[in-house]
Symmetry: C2
Subunit: 512 residues, 2 copies
């Protein structure tokens, strides 16, 4: 064993070798089709007696083609099968060397030949230009998020419907809970549970249910195949089973297990909690500790945040890559986006600003117009506002919780907004000094976008940046039309508007 | 002359008696039809040479039937005519004794027999129950305000149209400027000016134009006749003539003259300024001094406030009877009403929360739905939100400035809201502890009113105060309908709602 190969953050390993090896060392199958920016998995046979989840420690020292070294944590997947997953960022020969307190798993070496990334494999999403996102290969990522918290805990038919709906939608991120959910409009049991045991007999938090996590991984892969990032919620308070109130050691064990299983998936985001401030049994110290466990078991560095109910978490914490916001005011929601950007200096993703729907609670009964308006208010201020849908139906299948079908008016408009942003010079918008009543986004003097929201002007005097000529587009954000005005404009000029709400005006510089 | 008869706040009188008396002392006409709560006017003949506006001081010591004494300031109305007006609050014999530095005006005595107030003469409006209003006789006054800043500065035809529109409207208060207005959509000259002189040759701020003020008084009387309070704006910054930038002595002279002319009108409110914070040339000290001059020349104690643009005045000042608010946030407007009530402990009148219309500026292009929503948001929080209308038309006659006709959707809805408030047990609503997403107003446990705003619930679980039974009304605030649910309700119960915005639910206790 090599000293530097020991994972710096795993518990001290103790000798453990019951001798049972499901897959002989000589047969460790090397992945035949490894490509950069896709998950590479090593499958090892190891002990299946005792409690391998807690007794066996397994890591691999990884050396990339450029000599970079890292240590990857493995995990037990049941039936004597152990897996080590990594996400190579470049093509070439990646060599590994395992280390374990189980002798049958330790000292295994090999080389994985990684082909260049495929054209659709853009790699993980990271922060770009301080307030925005891009994939590892530099491709712009414009989040158009939605929420279906418990979609993976429904019937297979319903899950397939959800995937089909997402595939046909503009959404490219979905907030979803790892643990099952118990809340209004979602009281059904999930098909399986993450731990051995039952609600009646109690749970054994030291024994994970591999099938549970395999199913989750399958859905994450399904999402990835249709271009949807999985914004995974590690803990949530809507719980009747006790998964939100585990002891710290169990929380950490779970988070370590999950992160080791999923860190090599290119489309995963970590959301430590939904409505963290509703957990009676967890303090900020707990969340900070959990964040450390995530970081220690995620060598890739996935986007990480934590979502509030009433009070924001301190988003200036270094482990928080972006602000995952629930609006804290019923009336002024995404209009605070630019202030939040300034406050924390990070991307602002308003994951909950109210859902289109008609349920009893105010968080779930705004109109498609209002949700679209909030998305635009956030967008021109340089942020990203997400969707959710909560229309009552007889099946009690509300998209926001169970997935299924979408019936609302806002998704198409959010797709249109994404297209508008994608047409900006750098495919992103930052706030620029605006009018008192109309927010302006833009990119320097190259590009400007004004949003009139619920205002219904019949005209507007536009003050373009000096010294440039612009073409001017009238954008109806609800009708999803773009009308280019004839000619070019400079300085201050008057634009006729239709006296309808939800209009925008776009200026595109004619100079190179 | 009797020492206590000298007005404590007027400048020291100097002898002035050019000897010209328009109306001989023996012919002072006593008002033949004086009634309580109506203006009583004494008309005196006096000097018409020199500058009577500045040279002649005139007051009357007044003794009511109950022995109360007060000192009333008179004013010069041109052509040797001087007037002293007072507003008797009770019937009986009111005796007066004049005092002047003009001997022909001094020492005049008489008795005015005041009949009981007529059934429609409820007297001035004052603050009632801390946050609300009532007339002097206790009749509830529920302000449904509108704004027509410069309506009295338009053609006679247009003024008559404005009066007819108001008479047919639900409005019972209008914000209006004493001085003419120069601003977008209102650049025409007024038919007359308040001072002698002209824009070209300059104004003589020491010589008032009585015809200007007589015309204003006529319009105030016209408003009073149709039940509309005149919320008079003494200064405003939309000015090309110099009336907003007079020297302090001229400001004070003007305010003293105006207050002496109008204090005896029962339907006048004083608004020291519109958008006081836009005056470059006036400081808080100036406004405080002007407030003192108003108070010194208003023995009746009319409602007095001052209206902001971006920054609130310190509404805790004792001379401010109620908060005349312009919302300071584009998005969260009347939803702050309860906070403002708590902050200042006074009635909150949101005189500008945005106008229904379609002009270029955000303060004047919200929909009738949005204005009505803001009015309800304010109402259930115990405040009063006013109207304004700014629809473009070819005549450039926008109601908010020139008056004329109303074409919007909100006035009828504001009248409906007034009717709903009038049906409350004490004809007023105070905020009660509400839900996080739905504000509740009420009157103790006797009455509750929830407003759902832009929310569109299909049902709601209502938690009524314990120990009472209620009848429940569904109110569609936009369709202006009230639907009483069958039966009576207590405790927690579910109410089906239509899934439309702008609904309210009213609970009325069945117990006496």
């Amino acid at each position: 064993m090599c000293a530097e190969g020991a994972h710096p953050h795993t518990p001290p390993a103790r000798a453990y070798d019951p001798g049972s090896v499901a897959i002989p060392r000589s047969q460790v199958p090397l992945p035949p089709d490894a490509t950069a920016r896709r998950t590479v998995e090593l499958v090892l046979g190891g002990p299946d007696e005792g409690n391998p989840f807690t007794d066996v420690e397994l890591t691999a020292e990884l050396s990339g083609p450029d000599g970079r070294r890292s240590v990857i944590g493995g995990f037990y997947d049941g039936s004597g099968v152990y897996r080590i997953r990594f996400l190579p960022d470049v093509a070439g020969e990646w060599s590994f060397h395992t280390n374990s307190n189980a002798s049958s798993l330790s000292g295994i070496e090999g080389v994985v030949r990684v082909s260049p990334a495929g054209p659709d494999d853009h790699g993980i999403v990271h922060v770009d230009r301080t307030y925005h996102f891009a994939h590892a290969d530099g491709t712009r990522y414009l989040p158009v998020g939605t929420t279906a918290y418990a979609w993976t805990h429904q019937t297979e038919d319903l899950q397939q419907q959800t995937l089909a709906t997402l595939a046909a939608s503009p959404f490219n991120k979905v907030r979803m809970c790892v643990f099952p959910k118990s809340y209004v409009f979602n009281t059904n049991d999930p098909p399986r549970f993450p731990f051995e045991g039952s609600l009646d007999k109690g749970w054994d938090f030291t024994h994970f249910n591999p099938a549970y996590f395999q199913a989750l991984e399958g859905r994450i892969a399904d999402l990835d195949a249709i271009g949807v990032q999985a914004d995974l919620i590690l803990f949530h308070p809507y719980d009747r089973w006790g998964f939100s109130t585990m002891d710290p050691a169990s929380d950490d064990r779970y988070v370590r297990y999950l992160a080791r299983r999923l860190s090599a998936y290119p489309s995963v985001w970590w959301s430590l909690a939904n409505e963290y401030d509703l957990f009676q049994s967890k303090s900020v110290d707990d969340w900070e500790r959990i964040a450390r466990v995530v970081g220690e078991n995620d060598p890739v560095g996935h986007l990480t945040s934590i979502h509030n109910c009433r009070e924001f978490y301190n988003h200036s914490r270094p482990w928080i890559t972006h602000c995952s916001i629930q609006r804290v005011d019923v009336y002024r929601t995404a209009e605070n986006t630019d202030q939040w950007r300034e406050r924390w200096g990070k991307p602002v993703v308003v994951d909950e600003c109210g859902y289109e729907g008609d349920i009893d609670q105010g968080w779930g009964n705004i109109s498609g117009e209002e949700l679209t308006r909030r998305a635009w208010e956030g967008a021109v201020r340089g942020g990203y506002v997400a969707h959710g849908e909560t229309y009552l139906n007889d099946r009690e299948e509300l998209w926001w919780s169970k997935g299924g079908e979408l019936v609302g008016d806002s998704p198409a408009r959010l797709g249109f907004l994404r297209q508008i942003i994608a047409e900006a010079p750098r495919q992103c918008i930052d706030p620029v000094p605006g009018d008192w009543d109309v927010p302006w986004g833009g990119d320097g003097d190259d590009y400007r976008l004004a949003y009139f929201g619920f205002g219904r002007p019949r005209f507007r005097n536009i003050h373009a940046p000096a010294g440039r000529r612009y073409v001017v587009d009238l954008i109806d954000t609800w009708a999803m039309t773009v009308h280019r005005l004839p000619g070019e404009y400079e300085g201050t000029f008057r634009v006729e508007l239709p006296g309808r709400p939800y209009m925008a005006v776009r200026l595109v510089s004619r100079e190179p």
